[in-house]
Symmetry: C2
Subunit: 410 residues, 2 copies
Amino acid sequence: MRRDLRIDGARLWTSLMAMAAVGATPGGGVRRLALSDEDRKARDLLVAWLQEAGCHVRVDDLGNIYGRRAGTEADAAPVVVGSHLDTVPTGGRFDGALGVIGGLEVVRALADAGAATRRPVEVVCWTNEEGVRFAPAMLASGVVCGRFTLEEAYAARDADGRAFGEELRRIGYLGQAVHRLREAAAYVELHIEQGPVLERAGAQIGVVEGIEGISWNRVEVAGRTAHAGPTPLEDRQDALVAAARIVLGVRALAERIPGVRATVGHLDVSPNAVNVIPGRVLLTTDLRAREAEALGRAAAGLQAVCAEAARGGVEVRAAEFWRSPPTPFAPGVIGAIARAAEERGCATRRLWAGAGHDAKHMADRWPAGMIFVPSAGGVSHNEREWTSPEDCARGAEVLLGTVWRLAGEA
Amino acid sequence: MRRDLRIDGARLWTSLMAMAAVGATPGGGVRRLALSDEDRKARDLLVAWLQEAGCHVRVDDLGNIYGRRAGTEADAAPVVVGSHLDTVPTGGRFDGALGVIGGLEVVRALADAGAATRRPVEVVCWTNEEGVRFAPAMLASGVVCGRFTLEEAYAARDADGRAFGEELRRIGYLGQAVHRLREAAAYVELHIEQGPVLERAGAQIGVVEGIEGISWNRVEVAGRTAHAGPTPLEDRQDALVAAARIVLGVRALAERIPGVRATVGHLDVSPNAVNVIPGRVLLTTDLRAREAEALGRAAAGLQAVCAEAARGGVEVRAAEFWRSPPTPFAPGVIGAIARAAEERGCATRRLWAGAGHDAKHMADRWPAGMIFVPSAGGVSHNEREWTSPEDCARGAEVLLGTVWRLAGEA
């Protein structure tokens, strides 16, 4: 550990807040949907900062942005750090942005100290991590890591029917396939925890051991539209009543199966009028677990919940549209993170990530790991997301120490 | 009963189907929201037909259309027949339209037979009966009958923020206050039942004794937006889970309190993303009963359901935004309908209307009544709404017979 190699916490915070101004919402959060005009502005800002930090910037055919700081061994596989800049519709200032700006701050710190590394260091900003505008989530890292095809990504459409490929071209971030990440000695992603575990434990740094498995289902409830007034109870095929049973049944899955979290986040009613019995409801379910067996039990439980809700003529169909198995991280990367935190005297805690991250796809192909910092109140995907300047700087310090170990002093 | 005074069933059906073509949906229904371009086209068609039938047409400052056939006593209060031409978003071909076209067919039949009445006969088409685009329902008849002010009506806004008054002007149906209905000897509305009672009883004509009371509430559920992955069960303030409890609680009110119907027809989730715990849900409730006491018990029950759903930090507020008390019809009009049906040998049944109708406001001011014809399967507010040509013609025959009694042979 070189004593002169330090993160500039004030500069990191200033950059984070400048990025948060792009797509800022009146409620203090950020709305920066993937491939929107706000996403374009955020990308422009990042590219300018990476170039100022002396990085060579390239953009691949998924719109992923890479800023490369050369190592002394030109051909060595790089150590890659990063995250994403897109947000959910009413997101916060830290989810994703901290990992990208934290990575930027690492190369800035290396440049400030004139510190050479044996391996190149690359800062990456992945396209469409959230999956809210274009499903599935982590789409672009998934293509780079061989999980999805380029054609699948380009064909993904948002709710208004606009295709990923067209929007990428529209915002001017359609780069070349030759620029994709081809090899990595390691991938390290700094991120807010998005849960209350570190804060409650009084821990400063989370050493992440892996990412929980996720299953997303689309559930279609088909009843019969009828007038809310004259239709007797026994004649009703109320799709919303059945959907309400499913919402509560999904909640009960999480109460019943240890280690499982279950959420209905999206629900649309049709025709959605005060005096019309709903004829159709579309909803999504989000199931998560660290163990594949628990995830399987939850998925089977969902089918049972749907079957139970289908009564009195109401039909229910559930179909999984995305599944990501539980993914343990690389022991070598976990160890480097733990030692970097220890060197800096941080209070650490080992935990699993409940949210999906681009690190999941990277871990399928190369050694990967994640560093968590506390989220106030465990709140995220929310305008009130908050991590203190000190916690952000501490996370970036541990990221810097990890990169220094993995990239090798020259 | 004059033997030569007959409804032309084929002409009635042809007119009904021509009207159903205005705003026709691919599913065989009609989408003709109040004051939309489709509503304008429907109005133009009606005005042309009324003029062809020899009526004097006028439009009032609410956009209500009146077609008047003179009586032999020029100053006598008219017998008014009619209904509405607006529909719910995926409505059927009969709800509303049958009463307007049925009224048109009555004046056509009088003209064909050269039959003079002592009182004038007026066919009315009321604006915005459904209340789906502009709340509350039956807005324009409510102003004419003194229930709402003109200012309230003009200020009503749709979901896109467009005002009733502006839209009325936009479609060219902003008439003059002097043209409003000022007096009525009686009001008779022909309508489909919108329930299964007549069909099940094998009855051809429903003699309606009154309209049930209705209470509409807006319920706001405020939880906390958070990430669906890392947020533990005990930390969740899931607005949709609370809303689901309300939906089932409202359903249970109808199961528990005799004579009450209860529906959640509208429900919006925010931010409505697959991996975000819902922070806010807005829903509406629709409660109905024939007895004021039962309606009051249901309204109190709704408050209890909301209080019970507010737990774990989730807040729930319910506010009534519309109430219409139970309304019995005039014995004289009920009797005229019953005798007209009897003369024609119809199998009749007495019943109450579970849906609101413009006849409710009219009954508050003048003697009013309604004639129901069967709805196949009790289905309405649905594209598959169906009443046979024979049932439509039979209903119009009874309407003609009722008008003939109430308007008086000259």
